[in-house]
Homo-oligomer: 365 residues x 2
Amino acid sequence: MSTPDPRGLGPGAMLGILGGGQLARMMALAAADLGIRTHVFAPDADSPAFDIAARHTIGAYEDEAALASFADAVDLVTYEFENVPHATAAFLAARTPLHPGARALALTQDRLSEKSFVAGLGLAVAPFRAVDSLADLERAVAELGRPSVLKTRRFGYDGKGQVKIAPDTDLAEAYEAIGHFPAILEGFVAFSREVSVVAARNADSAFAAFDVCENEHRDHILAFTHVPARLGAATAAAAIEAARKIGEALGYIGVFAVEMFVVGEGEREEVIVNEIAPRVHNSGHWTSEGAETSQFHQHVRAVCGLPLGSTTRRGIVEMENLIGEAALRWREILAEPGAHLHLYGKRDARPGRKMGHVTRLKAER
Amino acid sequence: MSTPDPRGLGPGAMLGILGGGQLARMMALAAADLGIRTHVFAPDADSPAFDIAARHTIGAYEDEAALASFADAVDLVTYEFENVPHATAAFLAARTPLHPGARALALTQDRLSEKSFVAGLGLAVAPFRAVDSLADLERAVAELGRPSVLKTRRFGYDGKGQVKIAPDTDLAEAYEAIGHFPAILEGFVAFSREVSVVAARNADSAFAAFDVCENEHRDHILAFTHVPARLGAATAAAAIEAARKIGEALGYIGVFAVEMFVVGEGEREEVIVNEIAPRVHNSGHWTSEGAETSQFHQHVRAVCGLPLGSTTRRGIVEMENLIGEAALRWREILAEPGAHLHLYGKRDARPGRKMGHVTRLKAER
């Protein structure tokens, strides 16, 4: 967990990245600004990040020979996705520094551990119950009521691996639908909006959060982020403090996101922690032009043991995800004043696929 | 000179870049933001741009077989340096669109043609005379006086290929020093400062200039750029109009820079055109964070037939070149609020070598 040079990895270093999607690609672009080269490891020969990386390895995450060569060729490994298999993380961590560390991965890969951890820090979370059987589910629904949400403990994202328990939902069917996997039931939270805190922490325990942003989902996929979030100053400060506590308790190194629900109003407004993502995050894409330092630059700084950059916001910011064919509007967007287009170099604009994003900046009112 | 798609080259296109230095590298980074892949052609296996490009070819600019494969593999060729050999440009232009075009190259490779062209547009230039012999030089010095500067017509940059003719300079020695090459003598201009206009023009004849910047050289190498330049509003407008005229007369496509001297004061302040660079330019590096669109993004937009981006400046900007060992200050710079570090991935910090740059932003006063 230490870098070879106590001053941090600098120019000429080789940063290893697991995963070859848009997050890895934007990390590689940020690393390049700092003179740091990247080696991307991903199973898919068509990975968008390969086009930017100095080196790449096409390999399965279970291929120990490929992982060993990769570890030998880099100074440090980071990743773009939280579902890095435990064995992969452990194998790499034994050979080279891995940031964020295996603990953050293990914890956030299991909704039950994650929720228990957050609750243990004294932070508000939705009521939850472990569900390992249909009987557990029946008891949990009796306790938490309907509506509620049944989620697999592991490997769910963007709305996959979860079922809403509505007043008329048959519990046996719901349990069937998530494949009988270990799960949790989460009680309904009457939230007014979803926000997130994207923050960074480095090996010197420095912490820096970007302004709280507000997220608008469509079909369980992030569609827009608006910054700043419509939130009282005290609530915004509490949200950032929650992220700080989480980062500190994890001994976290890198950028992470904490998704939260906003409940109540006025004096009673508060945030409820929903999920931790141990990586750069779609809800932080607005920082590319919207903040002094982008989340990608910040992540590279944090994992390489460098000083964190300023998180000062540059104005009122909107980030729009370009999903599927929305990316075909690229030329219009290029002609739009104040719009900054980012495309990920993916070949097919399949429905639901994140093809790019746009950030739009307006001067502060 | 036309692109295959009348809407311009878009996502997935392959942009060819001649030259593998920092300018090519930053173009490749900008292209990546727009989902455009790059193929860099350069003779040096250690080229900094190779680390960013999806493809690269190590080849001599005279290697026609390598150039032909390169031309076949890309949708368009651009370049990072003005000294592309004429035969190389012609060979490529016969096979694929080349932007900026061969005319801009030919003109700016010859100081005599360049000065005559600019003067022909009715723009102010320093007095000059062609020098093809020692007798020419003697006559020219008699006419333009001392001090003056003897420069080779072709292939000089950063102070190479030029000799100052001081009161005590022996003319035969001076002519010897520049190797008896065809040359021009330029009369002395008592300028108060050097400024440049970095601007872009696309195939639709759209023109967009960044704000005039002021350049501070040390040892004939750009050390600092300050934006805005200390210049009257009318003079700044005249400087931009001069660039517009030059771009239009060349039918130019891409980003270019016009270096100018400022003479006179107050009502009598004016700019004198010194040099045209048919490429992105060191004096435009401040745009990376200092303007809404960086010169690299703007160049990619222009050569790919896309709408030009906004050139709005984001504040008071300073760009510092990191020359040689100055780049060893990278960690300090990373810790400096408001500073944005760019390193070029060059391995050896040799004296005089451009290793990176920093942009510093301050709010408008």
